[in-house]
């Protein structure tokens, strides 16, 4: 009986709170539609952002140079320049991860697997004949000697278009300089000046092939990656912002005091507010995803239970943080200002629009520590790459822990605020 009454009270509070948004056009815009507005505006305004600092670029190398190949009728196993290439990447301050094979997105320990999980932005496959090509060895061909040609394969991460373009451009620049350097050494060793000039014109032993890694299993566009990322914005705008003013508004208007003087426990009020905030987050998420489908025809994977769970865990942190603001702020206006002050800058650090990889190291560390970033990562992995639930376990665990901590602190702040009535 008592439980039934409490449930009635919780849903009455949640419904009333929800109506407060639903019947207020300004609130509808800022709480539910602003992330969508932001998606469209940012999408058209910002294309690529640049950086010259290579240490932020995580490069995977698959060095096949040194594997035995046939050159001019003899077996060559020289991997000197391939090794030098990897070492030069490191010396150029790229963050280099070495792999034995490129593999595929489902095989752990391969470059393709790490690209699909965002561990590296670009993978360079150094071919077996890399040294031979750059040292101008010749294949045996009837009538004339043909220089050995090698092809460097470059794979980029399409789920982070901006970050990938930056990484790709940096690597291409590096490759060009590296090849030019080694060609120079070999050409300068040619004694005949006329032959040297001839070699300079003709020698082009390395080509570079660039392609996007298969991380999804189906063709994806930039917007396909962006839409799942905006769920992080939903947490900030619909979760954090609404939760921040939920209690403060009621306290300012006196309706909170009126609820407390009724036979309603403060925890019941809190539960009602939580359900309402959660409902607003889910409604906003549905609007974002539906807009993605209807406006942008996004091509995503729909693992609904995982998406619902991930949003719930992310919302725990957003609502917990909002609850802290709502409880500590003096009034509705103060709560609103604090929420905006926090949510506006945070949206640039969660990797929804701008890849964290282009940011300074400190910003990357800060961004990675945010539970909202974890939701963005998890959603991009699930919805664009169709990774299994286990692949996002680190994000799930992180969001659970941060959600529980923030929500617990929120409850403590809420209880303390009751003393100020």
């Amino acid at each position: 009986m008592k439980l039934k009454r409490t449930i009635h009270q919780v849903f009455a509070i949640a419904k009333t709170d929800f109506l407060g948004i639903a019947r207020n056009r300004t609130a509808i815009f800022f709480t539910l539609l602003f992330p969508l507005f932001f998606l469209i505006i940012i999408g058209f305004t910002f294309g690529t952002q640049g950086t010259g600092e290579t240490s932020r670029i995580r490069v995977g190398t698959v060095n096949l140079d040194g594997i035995a190949i046939d050159v001019n009728g003899t077996v060559s196993q020289n991997g000197t320049i391939g090794d030098a290439f990897v070492q030069a990447l490191k010396d150029a301050n790229f963050t280099v991860y070495e792999y034995s094979e490129y593999g595929d997105k489902d095989t752990d320990g391969t470059a393709a697997y790490d690209i699909s999980r965002g561990e590296i932005k670009v993978a360079v496959v150094i071919p077996a004949n890399f040294t031979e090509a750059l040292s101008f060895q010749y294949t045996d061909s009837p009538g004339m000697q043909i220089p050995t040609k090698a092809r460097l394969d470059l794979y980029t991460d399409p789920s982070d278009p901006t970050g990938s373009i930056i990484a790709q451009q940096s690597i291409l620049g590096f490759i060009s300089a590296f090849i030019e350097y080694y060609q120079g050494i070999v050409i300068n060793q040619i004694p005949d000046a006329q032959m040297r000039d001839y070699a300079k014109v003709l020698a082009d032993p390395i080509t570079v092939s660039t392609s996007e890694a298969d991380v999804s299993g189906r063709p994806l566009r930039w917007i396909d990656y962006m839409v799942p990322g905006t769920l992080g914005l939903v947490l900030l705008w619909s979760g954090l912002n609404h939760a921040s003013v939920a209690i403060a508004t009621e306290r300012t208007k006196g309706t909170f005091q009126r609820m407390i003087i009724a036979p309603v426990s403060p925890i019941t009020v809190l539960a009602g507010k939580f359900i309402s905030c959660l409902a607003i987050v889910y409604v906003s998420a549905v609007i974002m995803l539906a807009s993605g489908i209807l406006i942008f025809q996004v091509n995503l994977y729909w693992n609904i239970p995982t998406i619902v769970l991930s949003i719930f865990l992310g919302a725990l942190s957003a609502i917990g943080l909002g609850l802290i603001i709502s409880s500590l702020a003096k009034n509705e206006e103060a709560a609103n200002s604090i929420a905006v002050l926090i949510s506006v800058p945070l949206q640039f650090f969660i990797g929804a629009f701008f890849p964290l990889s282009i940011m300074p190291e400190v910003a990357q560390i800060f961004g990675e520590a945010l539970p909202f970033t974890k939701l963005v990562n998890a959603m991009q992995n699930i919805m664009t790459k169709d990774l299994p639930f286990e692949a996002i376990m680190p994000e799930i665990i992180y969001m659970t822990i941060s959600g529980l901590i923030l929500f617990t602190v929120g409850i403590i702040a809420y209880r303390l605020s009751l003393k100020r009535l």
């Binding site: 009333t16 208007k253 005091q257 009126r258 609820m259 407390i260 036979p263 003393k419």
Partner: protein
């Protein structure tokens, strides 16, 4: 059987160094319309908050009905209907939706809630069109009536009204007084906090005057007036009130006190002269006022009010108190 619906025993409430309510005791009998009077800052709001369980006393006990509020806060809350001073309603919902929400908080549901809402909508005298409109479109009087109705949904035995007519025009004020009288006739125990002495005098059959966290007088309005042994007030409206004028009047034999007051209804400053023999000293008053070069616009003899009682007890007028705050 307990004949008191409210029993306050040696209640003290401290906020750090401030004592808002100081060892206060009082009872409100069942069916009584009890007025809690005092200037802003007297401790009325703190006492009301403790009575409805919003804050806990530092020491002392409060019983409402048969329940101790510290031991059974939920039971006490079910007995109480609290009408806050401000309009505390959701302005984006209509009257029916607001009443439904507050009814659910008190555990009402289904047909019972529906019937009670319809009863109270009649009580608010809102027509069907108005009922469907959002509260934000209502006049002050309409909002005030819905505000009261929201506290009556669960048919509470004890009703706390906090400054119920604050900010209302005379017409709406009288209409609200009528509602309070009706509730009293229905047998409800009503505690009314106000700083308007005329309101308490008009409505209450028992009055407590609070000042600085203590009750400084308790009784029926008539008893309180008799207690301070004052019979009359001469109210003079001069063209200007100067300290020289007050001094001249004060010197007249038989004048107990004189002070500047403000007539809220007429919006004019008046000079109040407290005396036991108003008719006898009236000629002296007129000549004293004329002697300082002040013109008399009107003179009125009136009986002593609760406002005069407060002044007699504290040496300060309520207006002075409000100006200081």
């Amino acid at each position: 059987m307990n004949l008191n619906d409210i029993e306050v025993n040696s209640i003290t409430k401290r906020f750090e160094d401030t004592v808002a309510v100081d060892n206060l005791s009082m009872n409100v009998a069942r069916g009584e319309l009890f007025g809690l009077l005092g200037p802003n800052g007297a401790g009325k709001s703190t006492l009301t908050k403790m009575l409805c369980g919003m804050i806990n006393p530092t020491s002392g006990t409060i019983n409402v009905g048969e329940y101790n509020i510290q031991d059974n806060p939920m039971k006490v809350k079910e007995l109480l209907g609290v009408v806050p001073q401000d309009i505390v309603l959701y302005d984006y919902m209509n009257a029916r939706e607001n009443l439904a929400f507050f009814g659910k908080l008190y555990g009402l549901s289904g047909g019972k809630l529906k019937n009670r809402i319809e009863e109270l909508l009649k009580f608010t005298q809102l027509d069907e069109k108005a009922v469907k409109r959002h509260i934000s479109t209502y006049s002050g009087g309409m909002k005030r009536r819905v505000n009261i109705a929201a506290a009556l949904l669960h048919e509470p035995q004890v009703i706390l009204l906090d400054e119920p007519t604050a900010g209302l025009d005379p017409k709406n004020k009288l209409a609200l007084w009528e509602i309070i009288r009706t509730l009293h006739k229905e047998g409800k125990t009503i505690m009314l906090t106000t700083h308007m002495m005329d309101e308490a005098e008009e409505l209450c059959n028992q009055v407590a005057i609070m000042d600085k966290g203590k009750i400084i007088a308790l009784g029926s309005p008539r008893q309180l007036i008799r207690k301070v042994k004052m019979e009359n007030t001469i109210t003079v409206v001069p063209d200007k009130i100067t300290s020289k004028l007050i001094e001249a009047v004060q010197k007249i034999s038989g004048v107990k006190s004189s002070y500047r007051a403000y007539d809220e209804d007429e919006k004019i400053e008046t000079l109040k002269i407290i005396t036991k023999k108003a008719e006898d000293i009236l000629p002296d008053v007129v000549s004293a006022i004329s002697s300082v070069g002040t013109k008399i616009l009107s003179v009125e003899l009136s009986r002593v009010t609760l406002e005069d009682v407060f002044i007699s007890l504290t040496g300060r007028s309520l207006r002075e108190e409000e100006e200081q705050l």
